[in-house]
Symmetry: D3
């Protein structure tokens, strides 16, 4: 029995509210249970130096956590003077994942920065950031299409992410913080709407895991991503 009473293959309730800030070209607040992430997509008519005059666009991501998004207060990274290794690892993952759905020729020589700021954390913030970040990106691209800035849609598919883990011997989908803290194995899966794999990150915590166990996690991930993509569709349509 999971602490939340959920079935092993059940996501937490997902709500995606769009258009939550008036300035960003695309934005949403995604809530996966008690994990709440504000995602904004900002369009800028410039690209990083390595892409200048190539005609190719760029999508990048940044991640942050408000100091009291967590059970106890964490030091503000702006105060500490640097982003932690964990933060950098997560924002690199979000950026790579989102780029998997982008036709950078169709996007044209411009950059979209997706900011994912965790308002409240209860496990799975990086996955919620990817799922919500894609929605913000989708909406920003819609803004560009509507304004005639770009002609053909550069987004080739949905991208969503979910965590799975083995908790006291049972493979379960979409871990909350309590489960995450007790998981023997923890894995994040990023997939497209058509079921292609984009990123897999699996990690043993304590004991190692077997191929059979990992296969069970991937089965769960496929269920979870399918449901998250459905929630994305509801949000953007």
């Amino acid at each position: 029995m999971r602490p939340s009473g959920r079935a092993a293959d059940a996501l937490r309730p997902v709500f995606i509210e769009t258009g939550v800030t008036k300035h960003a070209e695309g934005s949403c607040l995604i809530r996966c249970g008690d994990t709440h992430v504000l995602c904004t997509a900002s369009v800028e008519e410039r690209v990083p130096p390595f892409l200048r005059n190539t005609g190719l666009g760029w999508v990048t991501a940044e991640y942050g956590m408000l100091p009291r998004a967590t059970t106890t207060r964490n030091r503000r990274e702006a105060q500490a003077g640097k982003q932690s290794g964990r933060t950098q690892e997560i924002q690199r993952l979000i950026g790579r994942s989102l780029r998997a759905s982008v036709d950078r020729v169709a996007l044209g020589e411009r950059q979209i920065t997706v900011d994912c700021d965790v308002i409240q954390a209860d496990g799975g913030t990086r996955c919620a950031s990817i799922t919500g970040g894609w929605v913000a990106l989708r909406l920003a691209v819609n803004t560009l299409l509507k304004a005639g800035e770009i002609k053909s849609d550069p987004l080739t598919d949905h991208v969503a992410a979910v965590s799975c883990g083995i908790v006291t011997g049972t493979p379960v989908l979409d871990l909350d913080y309590t489960e995450d803290s007790n998981a023997g194995t923890d894995a994040n899966f990023v997939m497209t709407g058509s079921g292609g794999l984009v990123e897999i990150q699996g990690s043993a915590e304590g004991a190692t895991f077997s191929r059979a166990e990992f296969d069970q996690l991937m089965n769960l991930a496929e269920i979870g991503v399918r449901d998250l993509v459905a929630a994305q569709k509801d949000a953007v349509e």
Copy 2:
């Protein structure tokens, strides 16, 4: 006529929603027109080195702005590796202002950190942070009182803040971003519920200002703070 159609002595609509994050001892989302600030108050059973073993408590504040809280995206301070001079100036002001309402003996040797994170900006973010920050602080103190951690209420009064300015020759209350950009003089007033002055910061932008003009701004501030204190009372009761 003001861009918003408001009277010269009218605040923007103020909404203060409390209990917006599940982890913080006190929290609120304050919306002053299109300026939205998330305020959390975190209690920690430790004080800065200079207060150890004095029996005195401490209240401090930190301020941040999400990168796309503004019309165009600003660089994330955690990425830049330091807080800007503006950020530091604002968070020092918030901290000083809130401490004006705190009996540090009654608080006991613990620290409350008030985090003010601007979700959306449209002028007056430092004033909204003080007004909302006080609500978060009030709620955190209530939590401590309820739990019996402290015996007598360390909060001696309300603290709220409002900006006033002279826009095209007319003194007006509670400037939004458009007005702020065009103001000849800009002043922030921090006051208590009983009308005592806590902080005054007035600044000429371009031309200088006279004592008579400054008096008019202070008259407006008294009206504004009175209304903000009423909104605080509604929120915490």
Copy 3:
């Protein structure tokens, strides 16, 4: 009775020695009692990026304190790797104050940086920096005028600053360190030679203050700035 024996409305003795370094276009050593600040104004034929090709000039300021300017040694900021929030707040104030006297069109597209380095501190260093900084700026502009680099004088008025405070119930002018440490309310006033207000910063320390008290401080400030402007005139003529 004040510790220094001064009347409530008396400044400390002010001495402004000009031309104290051979390299700077304008310089002075200002001594307000035991507070000594070395001010230099450096002309550079470039402006910050946001002003390029606008024809407008810029005046900015930086502030520092020698490690042993104070009673006990402070850590060198260059060693600490950053300027403190206090330093940044002060240098932003000095820059804003000096710009209030500058016609940036007449200055032309060049930058003048006013460096204020506190050699010895005894209260009121930010005010002495503004008063002395204006003298250094005046002298640097004179150098430009004499050299024919600029045609019409870009300085529209004097700018000087003084602190006032309520010490054991009595409003007094130009606080030294001992008074500053005991002041219930502390305010800095920046004004022009013709009596216009440029900046007002008032702060309660402990108790709040009333409008009547603040008015008394402003009366004192008017006396103090009038005398400081006279000292500036003596120095530059």
Copy 4:
């Protein structure tokens, strides 16, 4: 046909030379083809603050690349003033991987830091660092056992890592730099000597990948790790 002429399931030649520096408690130079990494394990009789007085030990890792380990010179991170996100991500991975083989009770309250410095890079530096880092760790632990500092062996198994990828449609083992640059999918597998999975990181570059493809990569990884563990055994025995 691979650029190196290797079979799809063939590792590059692996050489592990032990005892390469006279100061470290354990050290080796691992060469996987043209990728050369110097690994040292340093024992210190202290642990990070969160482990003090718990009786538990700690194993951590740091990773660096000499500026000219690569085709073109990279900026020295000590000069840049920070470790890149990539560096931090890699050293976190090495540390987590090595800890999977450590009984932290048996290690006792001390820390072993494994430094992995890339002398020459040709793809697969993080995997070579894990495989070589384990050897350095093994040797340092042997030093402690021999000296009687610890009684029972805290290393529960071997840990080794290998990369696999899909290059022009073909799954291949142990990518060199040329293959890595052209891989459509790239995955790193960390496993124990007994075949348990420790870490899996798979990433699409451009196109997505399927479960079937990922299974093929895992098959290759099992072959590669088996051979690497054999090389570790040769080296330490």
Copy 5:
């Protein structure tokens, strides 16, 4: 003929004014021609961690240059966020040089920090810092002796420094900035009052130099240091 009209073996005029700041335990303003350095010595009743409970004292130095001490303005190091390599090299040299005259047992477990801040630069700032720094140190030690904090004098000798160089083929003493810029070889000599050598730093700029040339520079240095020590004696007695 030297630009200044000085003889090859003539120092610039040296003036050492003592007691120039009211807070420091020892202080002086040393002027070597147009090079002016403010030196303060601060006593603190603590030592660096590596000396705790050893009974030994410590003398250290820090060096800074005001932004407009030079012909054109230099960036403030506190603003840049770090001390330059040149600054660190100089302050390490000053510290080592001064320690050569200190009996650290007699000093007792306390630290004296000598701050050398260049007010105006015209070549030879590191040498002036050492010569003036010793005077500040001497005066601070006198303060301690007078107060009975230490019983026997920990200063064993004078320490002074001078630069020499080969300018257009001629060895000359005490280079000013113009000579320094044109010197083929440049050397700094730190010596004690009794003629012992403490530090020698010689550097070819362009061509190399011979032992014979170096000997000539050392002859000049002996003359210069003798005269500087005489100036120190005048100042402190």
Copy 6:
């Protein structure tokens, strides 16, 4: 009797292995006894800003030490976020020394960066870096000559360096770590193949030293550099 049994004027065994990394234009591993330094020279077709469009080339150096190159582990500078004063001082010395042998007109407008990374330290790392760095530079220049990128040889002479010191009263050549720790005086000499002096750095540790003693050290240095230049010749021919 020296700990190593060497005669007072004997170098440690010197081995210089060239071509040790496949990417760098020039490289060597220099071993002076137990001090091992990896030196690479990287050619880049760009120069620092102050040399653009002057036709002049530039040679610069960077220095690093692997964390466990020393008896006990040192903190990684990339982790600490800055290079120590010692590191900066050393790399500035290496760069100046190497430039003494370079005709920057003949080199043409390009930069060669010599990286000296200490793999194992036993005293004299800065001298080994200069001696080995010159070999790497020589080989990189040979690469450019062979490729026809430059027409005439820009290297005008050999440059090599050695330390000397007075250990328990006896002047000795090429100190190892044990001797260095006990030396009363320590000096580094950088010289050319034809015997010209490039850099001299002598430092008293504790007692001062006399001119006679310094002369003895210079005699030893001439012997040492002659032998090191011979080793360089063997290596590059």
